[in-house]
Amino acid sequence: MSALPVLLLVSLMSFAIVWIVPGDVASEMAGPTATAEELAQLRDRLGLNKPWPDQLLGWYSALAVGDLGQSILLRQGVGAAILERLPVTLSLTFLALAIALVLGTALGVLAAVRAGQGADRLAMGAALIGFSLPDFWLGLVLMYVLAVQLAWLPTGGFVPFSQDPLGWLRFMVLPAGTLALSQMGLFARMTRAAMLEVLCQDYVRTARAKGMPGWVVIGKHAFRNALIPVVTVAGIASGVLLGGAVVIEQVFSLPGVGRLIIGAIQRRDYPVIQGGLLLTATIFVLVNLAVDLLYAWLDPRIRHGRG
């Protein structure tokens, strides 16, 4: 993907979405029972009455100097607001990704090796259950079981890793686990499919024929090669997880980027919607760039010059 034109389009889309949203931030700021008169005054003071060409020009001239604008409700620059939330979302996403990867690939390998047998069905069934339930519901149910009934974990909130690593883990396990549960199936299925594909490749068959023990074949040849599509999926999954984080942050009251953007949509804090969408998309583009590099490193054919 050539990143520059994509980012240009992304910035235009981020801007355009806001212009089709009805309503504005004045109704949020003034409060639910504000009268039309009170609203009109506030709108004037906030400068919400500018025509869209002016706003578009402002958007790009600010972007040109790396300025994402000012949040109307947060009294904070959009860039600063997002950077402040990024650690929450990233740690949630990475922890979830790690849990999902480990459990998912394990299930996937197991299923592939026992393909067509009972263990395959069981593993895939287990992997798919989490994937098949809406994650907000899963999150609330887990919250009741693990936080209220068993009182093992807190119901929500956040402590930065730098402040208290153990506390961070305590707060993160439940939301990251929920998120991982809903994405684990994706990895399990992908691993299984990739493993199956690799397992019937000639070199694996040859290795088997040569009398190599099954688990060595699987570990040494099959798994490493099966990792390539899994890494690609991890790239895609980071986007999916980022989307899932939106909901999980809402359920577990985590001050992350997802909640920031959803809140901004709900309250019509336009600069935050625009900047937030643009920045998450940019991150996604960069992650995919990184995935491409990792892909190249894993795949010897690409590594040795075949692009």
Partner: protein
Amino acid sequence: MLTRRDLGLAAGGLVVLPGLARPALAQRAGGNLVMAQQAQPPTLDAQVTTAQAARNISLHLYETLYARDEAGNPVPDLAEGVDISPDGLTYRFALREARFHNGKPMTSADAKASLLRYGRVGGSAFIMQPVDAIDTPDARTVVVRMKAPSPGFIAGISSPRAPCAIMPEEEAGKDANKNEAIGTGPYRFVEYRPDSHVQLTRFGDYVQNRAYQGMDGFAGRKVPNVENITIRFVAEGGARTAGLQAGEMHILEAIAVPAAERLRSDASLKMHEMMPWSFQTLMLNLAQPPMDNPAFRRALQAALDLEEIMAISTDGLYRMTHGWQHPGTTYFAGDAGKQMYNINNKDRAKALLKEANYKGEEIVLLGDSSFKNHNDTIVTAAEQLRGIGINVRVNITDWPTAFSQRTQRSGWHVWALMLGIEPYEGPYGVVGFFSGHAPVQHVRDEVIEDCQRRLTTGLKEEERKQAVVDFQKRMYDEAIAIKCGDVGIVQATRAQVRDYKPYRIPRMWGVSLG
């Protein structure tokens, strides 16, 4: 001649309700208290917003010259009292001793600047419109001069709707949403983490109002016992209940009624019911045919089973009351219009539809899913109206969309709105909603305009009360809007929160942690 009694003011604020007096010093100090609420404040500029989420926080930081007592009547807070000239044109406030969070003592210059700022940016800025000039003859005296008598002035500046907060003069010079959160309140602002929490801490130099013995509404003697207060924003109702049960939160601004019923027997928790909290209404758009026809509006009035609407939209915590003011308050308008409340007569409704010559025009019911009460009211009302043969379209959007739609003259016929703070603060906001340049029903009604005029300028309480009676009668006679009933809420605390008294916001002064 206008006296304090006419204004419903307790003389000099020396009257304290007996049950409220509490020995202020016997409390255990210290501890960290966590309160959870659904929304986060749109701004910490107390003057600007009418949002409950902001009020919960800002009324711990700020105080007003007058404030509402436990019964909702204006009593002195930062003022020691007010002398109102017989012609009703001059208000002379004597200020009590108070100190801002920045260490400076409060002076009349601060009060003047704050009042002027409220006139520029205030959420209820109209209350400053009759003000001609403000003088500060000395550091402890503020004199407000009116262009015309304005008997609602004290009610206005004492209202918590968008509090007329007193802030330091230099902060008052700043535009809306640009000031620092510095007030004279018992708690001091520490930090605001959007989507997470607001942190407040006890203001060590807080000057208590020694004219009172105990807490009294938003006024009274406020004793900050708890050292730190965290106000967390937790969007999910289920997560708030879970947090309370797990002991991570001490106070919930509101708990779902079924959850409250289930947890009532839990000894570690306390449920505090408040009735009335607000009332549910259906606003009508008189500019949009066939709503311009009174017979059609009366058909709606006759058709609705308001008890069903209330039972569903409040989860069972409601009271069937017709009044556009709460019973037991000064301006409650008696039985005016009562016979037209909750008629629930489908045959009469159908006959009225025929009389109105209704031909199946589409009627748009506008609601929002951001407030559960609004959503449920519209869904329930729609089913009922469909039942008498009205061609109903439900349009439920999120709050900003519904709100911007309702300010238009077309595109909607009926809109659900819950009014909480307006009926609490008295008749001015309620009547004001239906009068002025932009009445909610989009078509000026001269009778209501006249009621509004009499209410805001009448020097005698009797005149003003009559204006409210006439207003309420007109609302029912012409079916200008439909009052559905009174809504209650349940505030919840952990049992270890001592001396908690439910009120319009969870007050965290006066309480302590056991």
